[in-house]
Symmetry: C2
Subunit: 331 residues, 2 copies
């Protein structure tokens, strides 16, 4: 028998642990072409909140009474496929389940000697690529421009800021605690970091961005974004990567209309999903790996131990508990 986590009920507003159930299921028997894998690292990501609602989005909703699924790194314990052997490390979209059978065609193999296997769920995975394509492809940063990032100490934001610095930009991060802003300034060399809980954001942005904002990489949405957007320059680019401050809203969020600002400033606002860039992932991962090797790109993770902690870790994303990528290590 092994543990599995199901969606018990759809969250209303902020998710609570009671929206999840832990159950036990038999260890599955393998069919042809399948592998038995044991989860090592399981990812919790803000986008998963959207899948807990009933409504259709760009991916189908999770079903009530069925297991949650997401990014998982696992070890092969039994193989019914030529290409994979016992002991291999694989990654893919899998269930929140300790041991499971997976179709070998739907996962990819990782180098098991990697120093930081978990990076494949972070900087060398979806969050890193999200930062890379959002900033470079939509933002098109130019040397000397000012880049503001909300959710700057998160899995995506901290990569965005460092790439912007590599490109010669002035980088301002907005985050939700002084531990985070200190980390951004001292460890990642952001030019400025603003704690939106303690600062007057309007004044802080004015001070940190004396030449206005050329690029706004938005992970958060809501009032923080209203304030940043009121400071954009002519031809600014606003990259909509996430809106985590709104994911738990139970009514349609309302705010100042921004079209007039986009009009006056000839500004661009673009939403995107990392999978829009699937054909360029190899190039993105290559650049990210090189920057890590060269010491230009640092990465942080918040890892908690224990499969049962998954719901709590997921909820923690919305409470700002993580610096960098939030992960659960299974064993």
């Amino acid at each position: 028998m092994n543990k599995q986590i199901l969606l018990k009920s759809r969250p209303t507003g902020m998710p609570v642990v009671e929206n999840f159930t832990i159950t036990e299921v038999p260890i599955p028997l393998l069919k042809e072409g399948e592998l038995l894998v044991k989860a090592k690292y399981i990812s919790v990501d803000p986008y998963m909140r959207g899948r807990m609602n009933e409504e259709e989005s760009y991916i189908p909703p999770f079903e009530i009474g069925k297991p949650i699924s997401g990014g998982v790194i696992a070890e092969v314990t039994e193989s019914n496929h030529n290409y994979f052997n016992k002991g291999d490390i694989v990654m893919g979209n899998m269930l929140w389940q300790e041991q499971q059978a997976v179709n070998a065609e739907r996962i990819s193999s990782l180098n098991k000697d990697s120093e930081q296997l978990s990076y494949y769920l972070g900087i060398l995975g979806m969050p890193g690529l999200t930062a890379y394509f959002g900033l470079l492809d939509i933002g098109k940063p130019k040397k000397g421009e000012t880049v503001v990032i909300s959710g700057a100490a998160g899995a995506v934001g901290m990569v965005v800021g460092q790439i912007a610095r590599i490109k010669g930009c002035r980088v301002i991060g907005i985050a939700g605690s002084s531990a985070k802003t200190t980390y951004l300034r001292d460890n990642l060399q952001f030019d400025e970091a603003i704690n939106y809980h303690s600062a007057n954001l309007e004044k802080a942005i004015s001070k940190a961005c004396p030449n206005g904002v050329d690029i706004y990489f938005d992970n958060v949405g809501g009032e923080i974004s209203d304030t940043v957007i009121s400071h954009i320059n002519k031809s600014a680019r606003i990259i909509i990567c996430g809106q985590i401050s709104l994911y738990n809203e139970t009514k349609i969020p309302v705010g100042p209309r921004i079209q007039s600002i986009l009009l006056k400033k000839s500004a661009l606002m673009q939403g995107f999903l990392v999978n829009d860039y699937a054909d360029k992932f190899e190039k993105g991962n290559q650049d990210l790996s090189n920057w890590i090797k060269d010491g230009k790109l640092l990465y942080e993770q918040t890892i908690i131990n224990g499969f049962e902690k998954l719901p709590e870790a997921f909820i923690g994303l919305f409470q700002g508990k993580n610096i960098g990528k939030y992960l659960v290590e299974v064993f």
Copy 2:
């Protein structure tokens, strides 16, 4: 002596004729390099409302007690410049004044035998080029896509819709009267036209756009835009050309936040000003002229007579009184 129109006071909300004064000034004496011109056609444009507010925008505000200025076509009555002769027709940004001295360097010459001189303030001028670059450069319409236009019977909107049809798109126009929607359907061959005053816009858009909206060319903003944006497809382009429904608001307009929709749909929203494309105007005017010659592009104007009618015509823009370009003919 000749007449001039001044901004007497800044409008609060909807402009009224009392915000303007008509006065008389002497006919100016010419300096070297100047021309004396007599206004023939004076343009009223929605963007001018922004210049009546105190706040700085992409162009400086009009000053109280000083004449309004905007697009004017005029005849040269006296020339102190080699290149221009009496009887020439010129166009440029000039004062709302019957006769005035203009610097020859700051105006351009028009072919005085043109059948429709006034077109240079419309389809062959700023509104036509606005339609052309907004739709083609930002919207990038592809054959078979669905294009929705708000303010579709206006000087810009009616050109957008016809270019979209030339590009093989399904075209839906939104306008504010049945005279306008009939005109769009019957004269301009729009696939559908919706009167937002009489229709349930949500239902009408659903019905007119069974495959969703790929391009939304927005002249209007506000609730009309909220409804259209709720119907966008994956990778939609939203072109922010104007927000006429909001120009007379006295408080910051509030509405549903749209970033989450842009995110789910990987959609683009872009504001622009026609002058962003100044280096490509020649190509744009060439294409527009050719389409007119080929009968693929029709154009409508609402012309009222009398210099004194300028304030009334300007106010009429916000009351939906015009079909196509709104102009005042001076004599």
